[in-house]
Symmetry: C2
Subunit: 355 residues, 2 copies
DNA sequence: GATTTTTTGAGTAACGTACCTCAGAATGGG
DNA sequence: CCCATTCTGAGGTACGTTACTCAAAAAATC
């Protein structure tokens, strides 16, 4: 029971190798009837193209370009480290990863970086979605060249991107509300604050949206007194939150949905107020410590390791034109409580940054 | 900047292709000094073996054998479907999946199935760990032949298996306790029951262990009044739980840590008692419905899709002898609440079975 | 039915590695 | 310094596919 090859198609179908090959590689100059006949044989004998041989023969290289924010947050550092880490290993599989950095929150810079790419440099592109009118235009141009673009971590749904890889942010926001709501005393009025990075980012907007929706529907006793934007910077986050804690000494909880853990923790420690219930994002070193000492109640996490892996697998599928399972692109939001933290080594990301 | 090939090693090192090849493939008959010299060149020019070409040349086929329980639970059905689903697609990548079924909870049958495997039939084996003295012996025999065995879903730590792929079950049990503990009124005595499938399974034992540990440490107000073994059967689960609900009319909560969702739901509906807090495992159709109607409070989930994917990737790494990242084998426990359920299509598993 | 156009056939080189044989060179022991 | 042993070199074939070219056959056009 040898694995059938093109030569088996030749034998069974009666057509020549040249014709069979033309059909398999969708090249012109074959009658529809012949195409059908060959494809029928392919189905009959169960032929599947050997990707190894095909790649070897065609000299194909999977060129995947990542454009990531250069910011120094723990999460983004992990993401970049993840890409770098895989560069060497993947060369064995004819995958060439290239990593370009752009300033965070800067859609224009992203568009410019995209404008420098083409069929020549990239067979697939991965970006962290940032809004700017030029971005969809660039994505469209690249798509016209046959180069798919994927969004990672933060989506741009109507940009023409082929797929989004990352957690379901609305659901994450819902989970945060669900947890915070249950952690607070029942049917007692309570004030909450939200600390975002920037509402220019769709992932942050989505988290907020989901959070608000569940609070309204299920926890009418809870009100949101402030939605702050800390720009994912330690300083700004610290200042905004400190101010907010002063303004609302009776604050009962906080949802920190961006990458401002470090600033959040220092503001809380500084304020020395009564403990409040906190749900944050990304299990960074800081978040882990906060969880351990009871400062944070829950942390929602996404694994950079899995995200980068999914980007690469998806890109390969797209380039090969093989079917891929959408489930492969779904990154799960992990929920960590104090009792359920994994050992430090298994964060699924390699940390470096600050907070 | 072409990708370096063996011929570049030949050019740079000055040795012949034959010698270089002997070094690369660790064949005998080369002086240590020569080996070192060649390897130095490899490092210097950054040569990485092209896996496509290597596989093609050696005619390698990755034969991976899955031995899975034949039981009719939703989760196991998904797992089997996942393997079957991939059989066709993976042939393009020279991966041959074969799927063998054994009765659930039957270590002896597992050992027998293993005894029929060898280097010839399998290059890597994936089993759902089931205790039996013959199993480690078979794993050792296969390991001696150079065939690695992986445990999936339920581990056998001291069996000689090379790796475990699945969720951290102790942590899952801890999460369950953490959630249940917080969902119950504070500092008020409360009775809990646990419904397991079979404590012969390590994953069930581990979940129970983690559950108990957190309850003891953090929720001294809570006591476990019953640990039942429903054999993951709808009938048995139904009977045991119905009995338990009668015996303890004041039961405040339940941790269903096996695959008995269907039986749990019917017992609860039948009993028509006051609502109790429930944390269950596996987001099956039944669990999803129970979550939606508020019968279950939380569901801990593992994705068969990701698990099978990890098994295959890990197996390939092991067969190739390439390094793999342990993070790739870590399957995350997902926590679903009513507000955070994904759309039905994205369960990350293809359902078929019964509960 | 002759001519143009389209379709098909036969053959071949190439991709990068594995693995084989046989001969020749270098090395070590006595 | 010779002989046996161990290393190394030269050259080849094979894997399954891609992607050519050139010629021949078939179909379409008038």
């Amino acid at each position: 029971m040898r694995k059938p090859t093109v030569h088996d198609i030749v034998r069974v179908s009666g057509y020549s190798l040249a014709t069979v090959d033309r059909v398999l590689n969708r090249r012109a100059g074959v009658r529809p009837a012949t195409i059908e006949a060959v494809e029928e044989t392919v189905r009959k004998i169960g032929y599947v193209r050997d990707i190894s041989a095909a790649n070897l023969a065609s000299g194909r290289i999977y060129r995947i370009t990542f454009i990531l924010p250069s910011a120094d947050s723990s999460f983004l550092s992990s993401l970049r480290a993840e890409v770098e880490q895989r560069q060497t290993i993947l060369r064995a599989e004819r995958v060439e990863l290239s990593l370009k950095l752009v300033p965070q929150f800067d859609g224009k810079a992203l568009a410019k970086a995209l404008s420098e790419l083409s069929k020549k440099t990239s067979n697939s592109i991965v970006i962290v979605g940032t809004d700017h009118p030029d971005v969809p235009a660039q994505i469209a141009r690249l798509a016209a060249e046959g180069v798919p673009t994927l969004t990672l971590v933060s989506d741009l749904p109507s940009s023409g991107r082929l797929h989004y890889i990352g957690i379901a942010n609305t659901a994450a926001g819902r989970a945060a509300a669900s947890l915070l709501g249950r952690f607070l005393p029942k049917n007692t009025p309570a004030k909450l604050a939200v600390m975002a990075g920037s509402l220019k980012l769709k992932d942050h907007r989505d988290r907020l949206k989901g959070f608000q929706a569940v609070l309204e529907a299920e926890f009418p006793n809870v009100t949101i007194v402030a939605v702050l934007e800390g720009q994912d910077s330690e300083d700004t986050t610290f200042k905004l939150l400190s101010r907010c804690l002063k303004d609302h000494p009776d604050l009962a909880g906080l949802y920190s949905l961006g990458a401002g853990n470090r600033g959040v923790v220092s503001a809380l420690k500084e304020a020395k107020g009564p403990p409040i219930r906190i749900v944050a994002h990304e299990l960074t070193t800081v978040a882990r410590a906060a969880l351990e000492e009871g400062l944070f109640d829950a942390v929602l996490h996404q694994s950079p390791y899995q995200e980068v892996g999914a980007c690469i697998r998806l890109s390969k599928s797209l380039i090969d034109g093989t079917p891929f399972d959408p489930a492969d692109a779904e990154i799960r939001t992990e929920i960590f409580l104090r009792d359920t933290m994994p050992p430090e080594t298994s964060l699924g990301g390699r940390e470096k940054g600050t907070g």
